[in-house]
Symmetry: C2
Subunit: 222 residues, 2 copies
């Protein structure tokens, strides 16, 4: 049984997957540096997925290694590429070597307004720890630091809110500056399509099994 | 002791309050209809405050009356005007009578993209229940229904994320279409200034008391 060929899926599900693939990108990526609260990590993953982001980088904090939180990886890894790092420098240098501009959310001297940033090139958006923000190393390696204008007494946005506002802006700008947002090269799109087909088939098999056993239980109790 | 005159506050605190007041608005308001999770309500209040929104309307759901959640009102009511309603129709008709256009987040026939909406006039943004969305009554009363484009498998944004993306967009458009975001009339600004001064003085008195009693405890334990 070849799971990747999609013949076990309903045409609607295949069409949905194809639509998602067409909107997927790896030229805008999200980096979470030492974000501690698993709820926040999950919220950022969910929001990024909804914006068509395929690739996220998670840099472990000193407090709580990301790997130990099973719930996160189980929900997200199937549909996203989550890359884990132990060191912020290694992660950001690798992204820069691949041609990404690194924009770190950080309010300091020389910080710019989110609205001023260009998204014509591939961009990695870096979000820092809930309390300490991004590290000095990340600030030093960033091509730009930016902040979302705050107009009230609150000193900061929740990290998932900051990610949502940044990604919404980034997608808008990409449509203007690059003409499109989803931009996987054909070979990558095809590989991802087969993976998503396979994931969906496995999901259907699981659901069908669960339904059958629920039915059997119901019959027995009659 | 007149708390409202601000003479008990440090000049920096007074300047901060004045800056917040200059960025405050009541011509963009947020309506939450039957949002159940107090964490979500709090997150929306915090985000709205950060965007300079002064007035929020909370319509009680059938499940959990908003009033009973003390934590929410204690944190937010001091710096925001949170108006509670039992009926969505009453709330939205009152806002329309005051000249607000009502935009409800709802994906249906005739729904528009957030990016298409005009914010030249006063606008009330309506966010619905986490599971059921906005009510039929709210959809019927809305001047427009809108959705935030979803590009992945996720079917919806978390309500606080949807509010953040909508408010960021609304503020951007207001700056373009109205020339400014903060726009309290002088008399309203002055009334709010006195209230914020008074809140801040009370806060200082509380902090000072807490510090003194902590000091006494520390001295006793020496």
């Amino acid at each position: 049984m070849k799971l990747g060929d999609g013949e076990f899926l309903l045409p609607e599900r295949r069409a949905r997957i194809d639509e998602v693939i067409a909107n997927r990108t790896r030229s805008l990526v999200v980096v979470m540096e030492a974000v501690c609260d698993p709820q926040n990590v999950n919220a950022v993953l969910r929001t990024a997925e909804a914006f068509g982001i395929q690739e996220l980088h998670v840099i472990e904090g000193p407090m709580k290694p990301f790997d130990r939180n099973k719930k996160i990886s189980q929900n997200a890894d199937k549909w996203l590429d989550v890359v884990r790092w132990k060191d912020a420098g290694d992660c950001l240098r690798a992204l820069k070597a691949r041609g990404f501009l690194v924009y770190a959310t950080h309010l300091g001297e020389g910080s710019r307004d989110l609205a001023e940033l260009s998204f014509a090139q591939p961009v990695a958006l870096v979000f820092g720890n809930e309390h300490r923000g991004v590290s000095r190393e990340a600030v030093a390696l960033a091509d730009a630091c930016y902040a979302i204008p705050m107009r009230g007494f609150s000193q900061s946005f929740n990290v998932s809110v900051a990610a949502a506002i940044s990604l919404a802006r980034a997608v808008d700008r990409r449509l203007v500056e690059r003409g499109r947002h989803g931009d996987l090269p054909p070979a990558e799109a095809e590989a991802l399509r087969l993976r998503f087909y396979a994931n969906s088939v496995k999901q259907r098999v699981r659901v069908a099994k669960a339904e059958r056993s629920a039915e059997r239980r119901a019959q027995r109790s009659r």
